[in-house]
């Protein structure tokens, strides 16, 4: 995931965004090449500096020996860490790995973390597991790519790692080889991960802030550590490391924007603790957009987590935005009022976008959640600098997992041509968010199409 973001960033900053990426090797921008060269040099140096651990002697744990309450706690923690999403291929067995993360530089595949001895982590001792989680080194001494967020997991306590270990070691072992990573040189060399660590990875230990409540500290620990929320919600530098001084200012994930959670939050209404708890456990609250895209699996996992931990997360996240609450509530009400007058386009509005809105959107999106859907003036997607979240939602819809409850919206992919979708986007952006139209809607559409054409089996 991190590399995907790094690559997206490289392309953005290099102002080099080819509409189609037929061959990842062919389109590496100059700036990226510089970064890669740096990584190659540092990687070579790092190998001589960093102690590549000896493989641990295989101390096979006995699955039956784990305490049931420890396993249960591990299940909760694994849900907070959203481990299952990355470590499960679409339609695959849980935790058996093989989910691909595409990027212009190649594809990374998640590993099998079931206790299968040959293809999973069945031979890993607790010490091996701890080392992988906290330091990003596997029992063979190989440096793991930071797509595995050990820069966050380094904060996780011994007790919690032990519980997660107990949980994964008691899952069904699945024999499944993950496909080999397909990365370009020099990222294909493990040494590049070592170099990255030298530059950006710091082993940290969680220490509570005595000035804050116990609940806030619990939230800090979960959000910054296992939850690795910043992996998406914090912007990354050109080499894919989170910009620590812009923590939670909004980042990118899988072609979506993960909005800012701090004072830069674009949401018209503030994220209060209660709204966050509601949202994180169900995917919807009354005044914000429903969870979609990469946030959908996070919410699915958090719906399994005890409310007190979700509340702690909410307390910490709500504290990230330090603007006065009352003013923000007032601003939200102003936006909501705009929606009321916007409920249906005025007779004078004859733009094609307005007509599409009336025929396709207004049926549901009128009245605050009256018909289940959100008034569009409260939409976060419409307030973002780029249209990609909006385009994703209109084209793909929002679909809960099979047989489960969750936010839902139909896909309009077949109904709207690209030109019509662009007209609708312009209308919604200017009419509901009150902002100037986005510059390059067709360009963003092309990007999402090239991404989709690389994926297989999507609906």
């Amino acid at each position: 995931m991190i590399w995907a973001k790094l690559f997206a960033k490289l392309f953005d900053e290099a102002a080099f965004a080819p509409a189609v990426l037929p061959d990842h090797a062919a389109v590496i921008p100059v700036r990226a090449l510089t970064g890669l060269a740096l990584i190659a040099i540092l990687g070579a140096a790092a190998c001589s500096v960093i102690d590549l651990r000896d493989a641990h002697s295989a101390a096979q744990p006995a699955p039956a020996g784990f305490d049931a309450s420890l396993v249960a706690r591990g299940a909760q923690l694994a849900a907070i860490g959203d481990c299952g999403f990355c470590h499960t291929a679409p339609g695959g067995r849980p935790f058996a790995g093989g989910r691909g993360v595409d990027s212009p530089f190649g594809t990374l595949y998640s590993t099998n973390i079931t206790p299968d001895a040959e293809t999973g982590i069945g031979r890993w001792s607790l010490a091996d597991f701890t080392q992988a989680m906290r330091e990003g080194v596997d029992p063979g001494g190989r440096h793991l790519y930071p797509a595995f967020p050990y820069d966050h997991f380094t904060l996780v306590t011994d007790d919690d790692i032990q519980a997660i270990y107990a949980y994964v070691m008691t899952r069904d072992p699945v024999r499944a080889e993950s496909p080999d990573n397909d990365l370009v040189f020099p990222l294909s060399l493990r040494a590049s991960a070592a170099a990255w660590k030298l530059m950006f990875f710091k082993r940290e230990v969680f220490s509570p802030d005595p000035a804050q409540s116990e609940q806030w500290n619990r939230g800090f620990y979960l959000v910054q550590g296992l939850g690795h929320c910043g992996a998406c919600h914090t912007p990354r530098n050109v080499l894919g490391a989170e910009k620590k001084d812009e923590s939670f200012s909004g980042g990118d994930a899988e072609g979506w924007h993960a909005p800012a959670l701090n004072q830069n939050s674009p949401a018209p209404f503030p994220w209060t603790v209660d709204r966050l708890v509601q949202y994180l456990r169900t995917g919807v609250d009354d005044v914000h957009e429903a969870a979609a895209g990469p946030m959908a699996p996070v919410v699915h996992d958090l719906s399994q987590v005890a409310e007190n931990d979700v509340r702690a997360i909410a307390v910490y996240v709500a504290s990230l935005d330090n603007r006065p609450l009352q003013e923000r509530e007032k601003k939200g009400e102003e936006f909501a009022a705009r929606s009321v007058t916007r409920g249906a386009p005025a007779a004078s509005e004859t733009s094609r976008g307005a007509t599409i809105y009336t025929g396709a959107c207004a049926t549901c999106h009128v009245g605050r959640r009256q018909h289940g859907a959100l008034e569009l003036s409260l939409s976060t997607s419409l307030a973002l600098p780029k249209p990609n979240n909006l385009l994703h939602i209109i084209q793909e819809g929002i679909t809960p997992r099979d047989g489960e409850r969750g936010p839902w919206m139909p896909s309009f992919a077949g109904a709207l041509t690209d030109a019509q979708l662009a007209e609708l986007a312009d209308y919604l952006r200017t009419g509901f968010a009150g902002q100037p139209a986005w510059k390059d809607v067709p360009g963003e559409l092309k990007k999402s199409e090239s991404r989709k054409s690389k994926q297989t089996g999507g609906t």
């Binding site: 339609g91 094609r352 007509t355 599409i356 009336t358 025929g359 396709a360 049926t363 549901c364 018909h371 679909t399 099979d402 839902w408 139909p410 896909s411 309009f412 992919a413 077949g414 109904a415 709207l416 041509t417 019509q420 089996g457 609906t459």
Partner: protein
């Protein structure tokens, strides 16, 4: 006045540009195959093809459809000469109350046109947006599979084509 191409026939319709296609099909053109279920795009009973892709006609304003090709279940065949999917649904007795069936056939048609050899898993995934309250899902799945194999066997595919005229 807006001009629509429905099942290969050019139709001039006098309706507000924001009117959902479903209303125009049923009320203006008397094509009653597509059904009104929920009006919210949640059930799929109103599904038709726009340029070979399945869409909810209850949420598609006609202003979007000038110069695009609309196919309804009536475009798949006639009672005298049913199309491949229609024959397969009859063969498997896939309808109980029948209300969801035209939508089911149209969504299936979108899949089979592109991929007549679709696997069971692909069919299930593709058909997700369409609901059936009677519980004939297993028969519906069998009917789609049957139509797919008929289409892949030589010469069967053009049957729908011939009858549908402009359905290509």
């Amino acid at each position: 006045m807006i001009t629509l191409n429905v099942n290969g026939k050019i139709e001039n319709v006098d309706a507000d540009p924001g009117t959902p296609l479903l209303y125009v099909l049923r009320d203006h053109l008397r094509l009653n195959g597509a059904k009104y279920g929920c009006g919210l795009g949640q059930c799929g009973a109103c599904t038709v093809l726009i340029d070979d892709e399945a869409v909810f006609s209850c949420l598609t304003p006609i202003s979007l459809l000038a110069e695009r090709k609309i196919t309804t279940v009536e475009g798949l065949g006639t009672i005298a000469e049913p199309g491949v999917l229609q024959r397969a649904f009859i063969g498997e007795q896939a309808a109980q109350c029948g209300y969801c069936i035209p939508g089911m056939m149209m969504r299936a048609q979108a899949l089979l046109r592109a991929n007549p050899g679709a696997t069971d898993a692909e069919i299930r995934r593709h058909m997700r947006p369409n609901l059936c309250r009677c519980g004939t899902h297993m028969r519906i799945l069998r009917a789609i599979k049957r139509a797919g194999s008929e289409m892949t066997s030589a010469g069967a595919k053009p049957a729908a084509k011939k009858i549908a005229g402009a359905a290509k």
